[in-house]
Amino acid sequence: MAADTGSYINHHLTNAQMCMTDSGVAFNKACADAGFWTLHVDTLGWSIVLGLIFLLSFRSVAKKATTGVPGKWQCVVEMIVGFVDTSVKETFHGKNKLIAPLSLTIFVWILLMNMMDWIPVDWIPTVAGLIGQHALGMDPHDVYIKSVPTTDMNMTFAMSLGVFALIIFYSIKIKGFSGFIKELTLQPFNHWAFIPVNFILESVTLLARPVSLALRLFGNLYAAELIFILIATIGIAQLPVHFLWAAFHLLVIPLQAFIFMMLTIVYLSLAHEDH
């Protein structure tokens, strides 16, 4: 039982992998030695599909957005857009055409990816296993699929590093390169003798931003997913427990998306501030 449970959990927490080997494209266990050049096809697939759902459904509203009486779907989209716009305007006071759509993309995309957590943990792997077995002739235990992209650190770091790049870009653009360096070296102690100390402190502060952004989202969703999987191992008693845990995620899922968005706005707004 213990070994079964262990392999069950492991199976659910393993991504579908794809890599290039000497003998061509290889999958999963064959990629154990591929190192960095491995792709998590499930993470990529789900996240891109969800991103396209977000963009295309919003685009459909944008294309025929009426200034008169809006339809129901347009109302929903406008509520989300309005919410993001308010959040951005309350925090960021400069002029920037990127921050608001960036925040919208981050919020809705993360929200959709997190919402995959609500799909019972066995549904997608089971379906994928059956397809793998009957359509592709694979061993169902060899078919891996993780349907929540935000439980993959690659996903969360991709976004947080994107935000980090923007922080650096705007810091240099607004304050100039020397201004950016000065910010790193002359704070918090404004004396030449403290430059090394300042630099260490400020670098840590700066680097902590993308790391904390990515790890916060990853940690929350990974833990949530792990507990969903653990709950799924306790038999019939899982039903009420699963319900409670899923209900709790009514809070966690939008909150994590909101935090990621809000911190992005705050960091970019700090990058725009000239001291």
Partner: protein
């Protein structure tokens, strides 16, 4: 740590999605929202204006109604005055007409009587002459005694 090339793939996806959102999703939706906000604000302002106009119009109508009532009362008063005036005039005219008619009647009566008297006188004179002629036969010459006869006629 399980970081691998997925990171690059997701970064590319992230950048593409953000750019798409920035170019094709955010601006039209925001434009629609702001347009509608403007329309609603205009509508509210217009309705406020209309309410003010309505109030003004109602005040105006009330004032005009009041004025009209006052004018109507004035007209009625004037009409009443005119009525009594006309009645008085008519009564005055009737009075004078009556007096005129009476006067002319009396004058006619008078003239008729005079005429009748004249006629009577002349006839009586003739009768007297005829009578006297009969009495006196030819003894009396009408021409010589005409003064006596005229005296007689005047005495009648």
């Amino acid at each position: 740590m399980n970081l691998n090339a997925t990171l690059l793939g997701e970064s590319i996806a992230f950048i593409v999605f953000v750019i798409f959102c920035m170019k094709f999703v955010w601006p039209p939706i925001m434009a629609a929202i702001e347009d509608r906000q403007k329309t609603i604000a205009d509508g509210l302002a217009a309705s406020e204006r209309a309410a003010k106009d309505l109030e003004l119009a109602q005040d105006n109508a009330k004032a005009q109604l009041k004025e009209a009532k006052a004018q109507a009362a004035e007209i009625v008063d004037a009409a009443k005055k005119r009525e009594t005036q006309i009645i008085e005039e008519a009564a005055g005219k009737a009075q004078t007409e009556r007096e005129k008619i009476i006067a002319s009647g009396q004058a006619e009566i008078e003239s008729e009587r005079n005429r009748a008297r004249e006629e009577l006188r002349s006839q009586v004179a003739v009768l007297a002459v005829v009578g006297a002629e009969k009495i006196l036969e030819r003894s009396i010459d009408a021409a010589t005694h005409s003064d006596i006869l005229d005296k007689l006629v005047a005495e009648l």
